[in-house]
Symmetry: C2
Subunit: 459 residues, 2 copies
């Protein structure tokens, strides 16, 4: 990992610019939130879509000061975000969403623009900004709270979670297995057997709509850590974790090792280098999945927000001094609802975040929430029904059927459980709109995104 850190450092020096001429933007979100589509669109807008008609709210473009963006040469040893491959998926017939990535990757851009005013606008024909976009799984941020819990507390936390309605049935066999296990047997085979069972459970959760919170985050995608004993890690039943036993002692050691060798290095080596952050949230799928899902999403966001809490008593300030100055929460896939519902979607996301925002102290970071669609999957319009113009969207379902319909209202606040019992939300998944690369990628509010993330750096 240090190789990467060294390379990042080197690259920053090589660009030979003052610090504010170089920006490292993190993009994350839980699995399925739309990271791949977001980065693909962001880069395409900055390199091909810079017409005022396409990005009206992006000041530097509207003021015709944007001279263009191009892919910059990239450190060859760092995983590269597969932009070109993703654009190919969108151009297929029928168009397909690009596959999601695992792990982290990076893409570097060089942006050129005319300064709006000030000394630079007079002295230089143009200015440049180097932009590194870093993609990583939101699940990695969910590990942070483990730094603040003992192993026994983590067991307590996990089993409270597993008691939720959308999880409890799946967790039953593993609970049974632990109940009947010999706590004095900390042998390799026993540990591995129990870990394998826990992995099965996590895999099941991973496929359960609304089960966002799966720890430890690297158990299912171990990468280079594969086979390391510290990944033999699972939560004993709370009463088991409290009593001293050979198994509890061993698991405690693995837990500590995981925190030291996985969680902390991620923050110290990768996260600490970020300047700004986009967090994508798929609220519509959570609504589809029901009450337990939307409350777990709220809980997951609360945990993720801890990574952006820089108060003096925060977890992170013990590890390093973060320098993220802007955080954007984006409700993705807003085009799966009709446009007049976007306001409600933004309000819903804000409510999901409100509780945590109140609790934390963003000493340096400005935050914003908005509803977006990185790559449009629908066009919107109206149908006449009972003599009234009824809003609707048109798109193509995954089964390739053409659809024109009203997907339903988005509640502006988290609805009470009763609503979910009487009403089933059903925001359908859609294919991307047909596209060829002579056009800008159709989007919703990517210009607002760009303005918030980059506007002040391109003045």
């Amino acid at each position: 990992m240090n190789v990467f850190k060294h390379l990042q450092h080197q690259r920053r020096e090589l660009t030979g610019r003052a610090f504010d001429r170089h920006l490292r933007l993190g993009v994350t979100g839980l699995s399925g939130s739309g990271k791949t589509a977001f980065i693909t669109s962001l880069v395409h807008q900055l390199t091909q879509g810079d017409q005022p008609s396409n990005l009206p709210f992006f000041d530097v473009v509207r003021e015709q000061r944007y001279l263009g963006g191009r892919l910059a040469s990239q450190v060859l040893a760092v995983p590269r975000f597969p932009l070109e491959q993703n654009l190919q998926y969108l151009q297929q017939t029928p168009p397909a969403w690009p596959p999601s990535t695992t792990g982290w990757s990076q893409l570097s851009l060089q942006l050129r623009y005319k300064a709006a005013s000030g000394l630079r606008s007079h002295l230089q024909s143009h200015s440049e900004l180097a932009l590194d976009i870093i993609d990583y799984p939101g699940e990695w941020l969910l590990d942070l709270p483990m730094l603040d819990m003992s192993y026994a507390q983590w067991c307590e936390f996990s089993w409270q979670l597993f008691a939720k309605t959308h999880r409890s049935a799946a967790a039953q066999p593993f609970a049974q297995l632990l109940q009947n296990t010999d706590l004095q047997d900390a042998s390799e085979l026993h540990l591995q057997q129990l870990t394998d069972s826990y992995k099965q459970l996590l895999t099941q959760f991973h496929q359960t709509p609304g089960a966002y919170l799966n720890q430890p985050g690297r158990l299912l995608v171990p990468g280079v850590l594969s086979g390391a004993p510290m990944l033999q890690l699972f939560p004993l039943l709370p009463q088991q974790a409290e009593q001293p036993s050979a198994l509890a002692t061993q698991l405690e050691q693995h837990y500590d090792s995981y925190r030291k060798h996985v969680i902390k290095p991620f923050y110290q080596q990768h996260f600490s280098a970020l300047d700004r952050q986009v967090i994508l949230v798929d609220c519509l799928s959570a609504l589809n999945a029901g009450y337990a899902a939307i409350t777990e999403l709220q809980q997951a966001l609360r945990l993720i927000l801890q990574s952006f809490n820089y108060g003096p008593s925060s977890l992170l300030s013990r590890l390093f001094k973060p320098k993220i100055s802007k955080v954007l929460f984006a409700a993705s896939k807003s085009d799966h609802a009709t446009p007049e519902q976007h306001k409600a979607l933004t309000l819903l996301l804000q409510q999901l975040l409100q509780q945590p925002l109140k609790n934390s102290q963003y000493q340096a970071a400005t935050t914003e929430a908005m509803a977006i669609a990185a790559i449009r999957a629908s066009s919107s319009g109206f149908v006449q029904a009972d003599g009234l113009a009824q809003p609707c969207i048109s798109g193509t379902g995954l089964d390739q059927q053409a659809l024109t319909y009203f997907p339903g209202d988005i509640p502006p606040t988290v609805p009470p459980q009763e609503v979910f019992e009487q009403h089933k939300f059903a925001f359908l998944p859609l294919r991307p709109l047909p596209w060829n690369d002579t056009q800008a990628l159709p989007h919703v509010r990517m210009d607002h995104v760009l303005q918030f993330i980059l506007g002040d750096k391109l003045r």
Copy 2:
């Protein structure tokens, strides 16, 4: 990777012993050479099989000074060799070979013995030796020569190799593809498309008996490097590599990056920490596969030996000062032939190594070659044929059929091509012998192995 180095260092300090109380043993070999069986057996012999009747040529055991070995606690962040799981495979009905590992792993032992004589034997009731066994793919050693070749030389080298009889047909489509490719197109998609084709070719080679030499070694198992641009790497046709072009320039950069960020760190961080080394060689499969296979095995061994050539002008002495003092070449699976053929097997291995041994200067390392079987797959005996006692072996084929047969003679030197045209070697693959863990694991000459590798450290 530095984490691992740091941990190794820490561990070495923690053991609190002078340097010669701690030994790091590397075990390697090309894919299929029997690394997993070897390490499983080695550890089992040292922890469970220490009876003089089982290890008669291992001095410390024969002299009854060996007090036992046990698994030591291991750094939790380092991939652990799955010993216990492997032993389970051997105890199945029918017994099965444990699955082969990819990447590297480690297992640590603590050995206890009485010193034979000298001050220690009087002062201490017992002495201890900490033994770390490090498993890594032999393919990683095949990358070393790339440090000494330019990109153009590597292309030349690769295409000479691909012209060999057992490779040329498979390589034809990729040669054709390159022939028709636009050398000025160094776009991401073009690079990835060509790399994908080269990967397909390597996969085909990997499944071709006798195609040992596949570079770059990490293309098929990229692990954490997955997606890094430097892994877009393949050999252009020699005449293409010599002319300046956008594609050649780009590939040259990837080649240099691969050498700097993959090959050198492996030697500097992992290899440099080894004290002794076992290299397993499956000569019988090479004989089965024919003349081209056995000559390619010879070539692969020549390249692997460069990693143990410590002359002042060696590749490695530019990177670090190696300290491997003993290297054992073991012809594995010798029990797939009858015992009176083992001498010929050893001679054959020696001949495969002879040319390289002459050329290189082992300033510090003692080498040895022997024929072994880490875990027996056959018992040997005699059948009466024409009134004569004919040697034979008995075992179980992969299809579970019981077999008693004479597998044929092993040639003590590499036979000329004509022999392969007239005669087909057929050393059949066998299942391991049935075994339960109350017994020592049956083997051939693991006591000789232990004596060579550890004997002097257990005096």
